[in-house]
Amino acid sequence: MWRLELVPVGALPPTVLFELRDDLESCLHHEVHLAASALDPGPAFDLERRQYLATELMCQLLEPPPEPCERRIAVAAVDLFLPVFTHVFGTAQLGGHVGVASLYRLRPEYAGAPQDVGRMRERLAKEVLHELGHTFGLVHCHQPWCVMAASRLPEHVDLKDLWFCDSCARSLALPGNCVQPTSHLTTRRRPRCETR
């Protein structure tokens, strides 16, 4: 049994973390834990770029947690970057243990759209599930509805389901699109259930 822990970065509103945990538990059918303490975003802050270095946060995540944990995903509300990129929504160790995701650019209001808490919540759950998939060794998927599809823009995230396509699910030994998304999460494509 593997343990998944969500780790807040700095002062993340607790409701964001609680809702994210509920969403992930609903789709994964797996217990999701919340870390007792938050990561300090200070060392990751780049004064010149006024952004936070994602790999620095991942280094903090790799420090041994109080309780043994196979997967740790940091959740941030700050703007993340990697040295050559203007920004990233998140990143993870491919086939590793840790990842980080940020809701900063996933908020509809970031692109000038009206505030939409539901949409932001849905995007964040997909982004965290995407980074979790990378930690299990999954690479980007070419099925646009698969949660492992690459998302270069927030709108790309909206095109995805909150689940893996059959092929990616098979790689993870998870059921395909049988898992129904939670009621408040809208999906572009209705999940197909197969009779087993």
Partner: protein
């Protein structure tokens, strides 16, 4: 080289840049290798192939522009994307003018990076596909194999059995019997049908050129090798390699070829690294390979490597029942291509064609029909349109005297046509429907020399 996963080389002296980019592309499923200097990148490029190189411009030692120059000198088709921390338009323009595919200024939007690299990969993929299609077109001719004689039915059954397997096939038969058509049929009915079919006529090329044609060469491998060139074995990756006239391969190349067939690895001339290739072998010969082995002209180990599944194509004279159906097929094919209304043959022309020995086999027959269509003004091909001559046998009369062997007939016929053309070898070869090399071989065999 893998055609489905892009091979990426990232060159940057900064570790965090290399790590960020390799991590990013690994998530996209790319095969990524990094180098911390231009020197290391050149060493890597000498050992293996890449589709795209992403290089920083400012690096200690050799800079990105010099690296780009050296890479393009060796492989002008490689897609190079330059990145720079200084959004200097002049440097970027300089790189683009010297052949870079595109440039990006650090830090760049992930969306821009993905777009540029995907476009570069698409270009590389199309370029590779284009090479393969050109190779395929080069050898394309009429694809239909006509003939329902028992011998040809058996040939088709053998093709049907062996095509779906990976077994090496040796096609034997006289010149002009359609060995390449059979090879193409095997390819198109095999699971490799969507891969390339690369044909090499081993008898048509001098030793040095054949070696370079088969294995490719690196830039500067010999005088005139101004750029790297992939060999036919490499181009056949994922498909079928057809080696025609395999008996004509010189001993030195036989050794290299055997090694490549055994290991499925090739090393370009002047190169030092082995390239993994995956192809199926189909060979053809019109010579007696067993004799060549006994005389030491052909390696025994190579013979056993290729003599796995043999398909013998009978000469046209042994299946006279196929002559008219094949002739009809070519009349339809060439009439369509030339816009003629020719529909068939006169009874005399049919008689002549069926009694003629066709030493050049189907190729000679096809050439004869094409020539007849050029000169025929009506709708029926008659005796005078056919570029063959002979005695039309009457009822119960055999054209060939029993005491005359086929070799003697061939000897006599070649001599006669040579005399008719004033010993013009090209014209004679054309009339006989065989290539010049085959004609020279036959002239040598029969000791035919020009008499002044």
């Amino acid at each position: 080289m893998n055609d489905t996963v892009p091979q990426l080389l990232i060159v940057d002296d900064e570790l965090h840049v290399r790590e960020s980019l390799s991590h990013w592309f690994a998530e996209d499923g790319y095969d990524v290798v990094t180098a911390d200097s231009a020197k290391q990148a050149l060493a890597l490029l000498g050992r293996r192939s890449f589709d795209i190189v992403i290089t920083d411009i400012r690096m200690p030692g050799m800079d990105g522009l010099e690296l780009q120059r050296r890479i393009l000198e060796v492989d002008p088709d490689l897609a190079i994307i330059v990145i720079t921390a200084y959004a200097s338009v002049s440097t970027a323009v300089q790189a683009l003018k010297k052949g870079a595919y595109d440039y990006l200024a650090k830090p760049f939007d992930p969306e821009d990076l993905t777009r540029v690299v995907e476009k570069a990969w698409e270009k590389q993929r199309l370029r590779k596909e284009n090479i393969v299609l050109k190779e395929r077109l080069k050898g394309d001719g009429p694809r239909l194999i006509v003939g329902d004689s028992p011998d040809m039915v058996q040939v088709m059954e053998l093709v049907g059995s062996v095509a779906p397997t990976e077994t090496t096939v040796l096609i034997r038969g006289e010149s002009g019997t359609g060995k390449e058509l059979v090879a193409r049929l095997i390819h198109t009915r095999s699971p490799r049908a969507f891969g390339p079919m690369v044909a090499v006529n081993c008898g048509a090329l001098p030793d040095g050129i054949l070696e370079s044609e088969l294995f490719g060469h690196e830039k500067g491998a010999f005088t005139g090798a101004s750029a790297m060139r992939k060999g036919k074995l490499e181009l056949a990756d994922g498909g079928t390699l057809f080696l025609d006239e395999i008996g004509e391969i010189p001993p030195k190349v036989q050794v290299e070829l055997l090694r490549a067939l055994e290991d499925k690895k090739v090393t370009r001339l002047g190169g030092s690294h082995e390239i993994q290739v995956d192809f199926r072998i189909v060979c053809a010969t019109n010579s007696d390979l067993e004799d060549a082995v006994n005389e030491g002209r052909f390696r025994e180990d190579l013979f056993y490597r290729i003599n796995v599944f043999v398909i013998q194509i009978p000469p046209l004279r042994d299946r006279p029942g196929d002559i008219l159906p094949i002739a009809d097929h070519y009349v339809r094919t060439f009439s369509g291509a030339m816009g003629r209304q020719v529909t068939g043959f006169s009874p005399e022309a049919e008689k002549l064609m069926t009694s003629y020995s066709w030493p050049g086999n189907v190729r000679e027959l096809a050439n004869a029909i094409e020539r007849a269509l050029v000169v025929c003004r009506g709708t029926t091909i008659d005796l005078e349109h056919l570029p063959i001559s002979g005695h039309i046998p009457g009822p119960g009369e055999s054209e060939i005297e029993d005491r005359v062997s086929l070799d003697a007939m061939e000897h006599h016929h070649i001599e006669r046509i040579l005399q008719r053309t004033g010993f013009n070898v090209s014209q004679t070869a054309r009339l006989l429907g065989i290539d010049r090399a085959t004609l020279y071989n036959k002239m040598r065999k029969y000791g035919i020399e020009r008499t002044e």
